[in-house]
Amino acid sequence: MSAGLRALVRFHLTGEMEGDDRRADSRLRSALLAPYRDLSQLRYDYPLVLVEGSAGGGFVRSLSSVVDAVLREIAPEGGQGERLRKHLLRLEAAMRALVAEGVEATLSELWRLAEHELLSQCDEEAAGQLRESFGQAEAAGLVDGRVIDCDDGTPSQLFQHAWDAVQHERSRRALEEIEGLLLRLSDILKADFQKSEEAKAPKNLRRSVGIRFEESFDFEALSRVLKTSSSEGSLSESRRERIRSVLSVLESQRFFALPTDAEGTRDQAAPHSFVFDSCTRAWEVFRERVPEMLELLKAIAIAELELENRYRESEHDALFGRFGETSLTPEDLARFPSYLIRLHDKDCEEREKARLIDVLSSGLPLKILVQTSDILGKPSLGDGQFALGVRGMQLASMAVGLNSCFVLQSPSSDLYQMRDRILGGLTYPGPALFSVFTGAVENAPDLPPYLEAASAVQSRAFPVLAYDPGAGGDWASRFEVTGNSQAEADWPVHSFSYEDADLQRVSEEIAFTFADFVASDRRYAGHFAPIPREDWDESLIPVREYLGLAEEEAARAVPYVSVVDENDILQKLVVDQKLIRATRRCAEMWRGLQELGGIQNSHALNLLERERETWEHERERELDELREQALREPRAAVAPPATAAGEAAPLVMQPSEPETDTETEPRSSDEPYIETPRCTTCDECTVLNSRMFAYDENKQAHIVDPTAGTYRELVEAAEACQVCIIHPGKPMNPDEPGLDELTRRAEAFN
């Protein structure tokens, strides 16, 4: 072992280095992040447009998707379209640059600014062409709304906006209902009034005719005639009183802002607010408002009965008298606005944290956004043990454990991709926790928040996960981790190219591990030491491979991560043992999540293995029997175990008989399989579930992992496959819902 290597091994084991020339202050980042120096040059999910006046999934769009949509609409194929495309992409780049400089504006304002900038840079002719393109794009109709970049404030703005969108829709529905009730109930009172003495009085009759014809009538006479008509069927005093009180509740409720009425007589107090910065406060307010909620619900129920004249005092008085807090159902609650609580991990007191758990387990529609700007935490005393994203991760896992709480964990970088989940959580009838890592880390100031956040997902330090208790009864339907990059793998692997000392292009595959994530955080600089170039040899092993080494091999190896400095010069850093341990723990945690999400599930794999063994035994036994039989009756030919091919030409395309090739394993009809050589690469099955179906080296489909999806998906793929070569076999999970029907549908393909 060379002296250099010895020093590295020593550092790895003890965290100490002779002469201690650590990279204490240098600005390093993982080599995989090297190409992303200037994000404003890239087309990616940010900036986001918080679309105004949108309902449902369209509440947020990425700037590039807005531009793409316009191009799809207006840019024809060919030269003309090409020019439009170029112009709009330039405009988009200019808008991106403005946002990166910190301009806060709406899309239309930003568009103007960028347009102005581009036009001022070119000559008349070019400007004319640009103007024409921009005009065309605007004529196609653009969405508008505030444009935001990825920074500390992003989650808060985005969730507020999503909540507004959900709330807007909910309010619209509620108001439609309330206004309808108001109108129809007042009509009952108005009709009743017409039967009263007061209505028939000359003064009122005069009012109803209007000034212009006042002289043409004798209202006294009219009144005398009318008074002789019967007043039968007028409302009882108690009914009238009840309707009045219902009207007053509907008009004065403060959950939904009623528009001002024509007469301007409505005096609704300012509507309630539902957005809070504290769990405790939100909780108190919610409790305070319960009586008001009950009153409104009661009023609506009575109104509905009254409109159909079905209110029976003998029966309903008592019923509504008993109507109290315990009568509230989740459906009732879902008619009211949900509460949005935005917390920041760093200024969240202990009391708040305790209240947070109360809120999440309450079953009430309170939606909590917890923003974390530091998932690593401060290195704890001396020994540098890693807290390892405890705060963020713990919170989400705890909330998942509550069972009935909707949970979404995602860093800012992935929020756009998770937009449907955000809406899902906000519309879910119970509580929801959104745990978001903002990426705005004080200790990694050289990385823009977007990159920091994206690195957190990549490195599994803060994986994307979603738990939706409303999606079904089992984990398979509720829990999802597929939003993570290369979710099947321990660490995502990316290819990385650079020029070596001889200016030759070198490409290698690098895994993005937890250690790579930590490498850009200055607080942890002590866990790394630079490896002098002359010591770069085979004893250096990338962290991912190092974790897979057997103990005695590991003892001879030095784990490293590849980083670049601010001049993009490649460096290798040895990683100390403590960080390696933390990295291993991170991988274990990730594997736990994978299993919950149905990836490499150990129970399923064990079951599969057991089934395979049983099947093989059975097969072996059958073959033995046949052999024995053949020995006993030497002249009788041994019938092949497979059924003989049918002679009649099939009317419907049948699956070909299994290949009789003796090399290949015999197939049980219980196992799903594809007749791969007949696959037409049509994408149907791979689009349906790319973890279950994949293409082989000939670009023809086969089943890579029958447990990576449901039996339903297998059957649906078999039905979608136009050449009928997917054979779904028998269901593997006996608990999957709807198996009877699925098995019946599968018969045609087995």
């Binding site: 091919a645 050589p677 000939n698 979608a720």
Partner: protein, 331 residues
Amino acid sequence: MAMSVSAPRCLQWSDREDYQLEDYEAEVPRWCTGCGDLAILAAVQRLCRDEQLPLEKLVFVSGIGCSSRFPHYMKTYGFHGLHGRALPVAEGIKLKRPDLHVFVNTGDGDCCSIGAAHWLHAIRYNMDMTVLLHDNEIYGLTKKQASPTSPRGLKSNTTPRGTHLEALNPLSTTLGVANVSFVAQAVDWVPTVLYEIISQAFHHKGLSFIRVVQRCPEFLPTHFDPWMHDPDRLLMLTHEDGIQASPELSRTYKQQEVHDPGEMNRAREIASLKDQIPVGILYRNDEAPCYEDVVGSGPPITGPEKIQASVEAELDKFTVWPPSEGREGRG
């Protein structure tokens, strides 16, 4: 039968690399899920991989249509041309760069309608290239408009009451042109045979014309079902000079005919079959002269000096000359 391989092809085989199928893949195809074009693309990529064709020696030329997006999906040279003009562009390329393998991807609209004139002459010129007619019997890109190969009575957006005329038969038409040298038919849903036919076409010296019956599930989702669901309605043409059906294939496709691709008359009869789709090589003539061999392709434009000279000439167009040697001044 001797396989004819031109000299440049042999030469470039000497520096082959280990190409994988992915090396030929460019962007993710934008075709609809289930589209038969995907099967054709996969077969072509398998062929390139199996033949270890260097990326820079391949060029795919197309016109306009869904099928004509093909060149975008091959990580090779490509030319996505004008509607109906794939063939003349391909001929130009072949004439100047005989060392390239030229493939043409064209649709039934692109080839048999607007490009019909070029089609006939390209067959007669018989330049060494592989032409794939992606025939879905409809204009896919322009969203279900009738094409010349749409069967009579087909309802489309341009013929809401059904087309009025008998369809044009691309096989009989091609077989009727003087100097034709290779005509075959494949269906996209039998990938092994599709591959085999493309492979034989590729090895044929001269223009090989393959009509691929191609599904368009987007606009004609059940159009070819009667043939897909009844293997007896495919007629496999087998011959020692054509394709040979494997035992597995023969189990499904029992209707077979031994057809000698040298027999033009039988080829024409087969081409006009109505109920069955013939699959295999209908006609082949290795003796038909190729235009580029007859007229020669002129001096090659490759080689270091040539390249240098043409680059200089291109750059000169953008050079700002000092007043004394300005363009005008230099005459």
